[in-house]
């Protein structure tokens, strides 16, 4: 029922000294304050919520990026908008802001936009997703010890 945020912060602080650092570009890919605020929802005796959310996100984001890439190749705007919309939602709530912002831009694209603009945005999205995934994986590693 109550958050164990304080305990986790102390534990994470201890573990952070031993965990491998995230790659340079990944440092600010995730709003850590926002991510850790989700500890408020932690149910006592349940598995670590942040770790569970990271696991779900890493799997889902990779699938969505693949869907977006395939949709852009096939110029399937419906699929592209659906996949970017979904990725935007989960990214925003986990503090993965740059990915959420790029998804917002891609979601607004349509057949009037040049293929090069879409390709450039997609490339940026892939880069930012990779950086965010590395940052989240580092948080996961710290929390699991």
């Amino acid at each position: 029922m109550t958050s164990f945020g304080a305990d986790n912060n102390q534990r994470n602080g201890r573990q952070a000294r031993h965990a491998a650092p995230a790659p340079a570009g990944a440092i600010d890919a995730v709003d850590m304050e926002l991510l850790h605020s989700l500890e408020e929802l932690q149910v006592v005796d349940d598995p670590d919520l942040i770790v569970e959310l990271i696991d779900l996100y890493l799997l889902d984001a990779a699938q969505r990026v693949t869907q977006i890439r395939e949709a852009s190749i096939a110029t399937d705007w419906v699929l592209l908008k659906r996949a970017t919309h979904n990725l935007k939602g989960s990214s925003g709530n986990l503090g993965v802001r740059r990915v959420a912002e790029l998804c917002e831009k891609l979601e607004r694209m349509d057949s009037r936009d040049s293929p090069q603009t879409v390709a450039d945005l997609l490339q940026l999205l892939e880069y930012e997703t990779t950086m965010a995934s590395a940052a989240l994986a580092a948080v996961r590693q710290r929390r699991l010890g």
Partner: protein, 142 residues
């Protein structure tokens, strides 16, 4: 009146239907409900939620994502409002669009709450409390 209200609340099932095709959002909402001691029935898209609602109406509330494959959240709201056994269940729509049109269409279809993404844990918990507090038993007893 207070005893009557408490009795009605007690008799209302502590089950909430959650439909979202995004596993991260589904897990967040489910955890927040679990924290408030609700049992969650999950659907992975609009069609699955529709099938559940065809067979089961024992829900204290329903929470739907706006954009889902097969059937959107607002379509589910319209369906529930057209069925006598489901029309009293309060519904909240969650959406990643902060568009006023989305909010208006949710409320005109019959939703009682609208939560735009991204949201904080406090906003989610507050919205859930408001949603379950607006249930049929409370309105009926008032």
């Amino acid at each position: 009146m207070e005893t009557f209200r408490a009795k009605l609340k007690q008799e209302t099932p502590r089950r909430v239907l959650v439909a979202d095709d995004d596993p991260v959002m589904r897990h967040l909402v489910t955890t927040a409900l679990k924290q408030q001691e609700y049992e969650v029935v999950m659907a992975r898209d609009g069609r699955e939620a529709y099938r559940i609602l065809q067979a089961d109406s024992q829900f204290r509330a329903a929470i739907f994502d706006m954009k889902m494959p097969f059937l959107e959240g607002v379509d589910l709201v319209r369906y529930m409002k057209s069925e006598r056994r489901l029309m009293r269940i309060p519904i909240m729509i969650i959406s990643s669009g902060q568009d006023l049109k989305l909010m208006t269409s949710s409320f005109s279809a019959g939703a009682v709450a609208f939560l735009p993404k991204p949201f904080t844990p406090d906003q989610l918990q507050g919205a859930i409390r408001m949603l379950v507090g607006s249930g049929p038993s409370v309105l009926w007893a008032a």
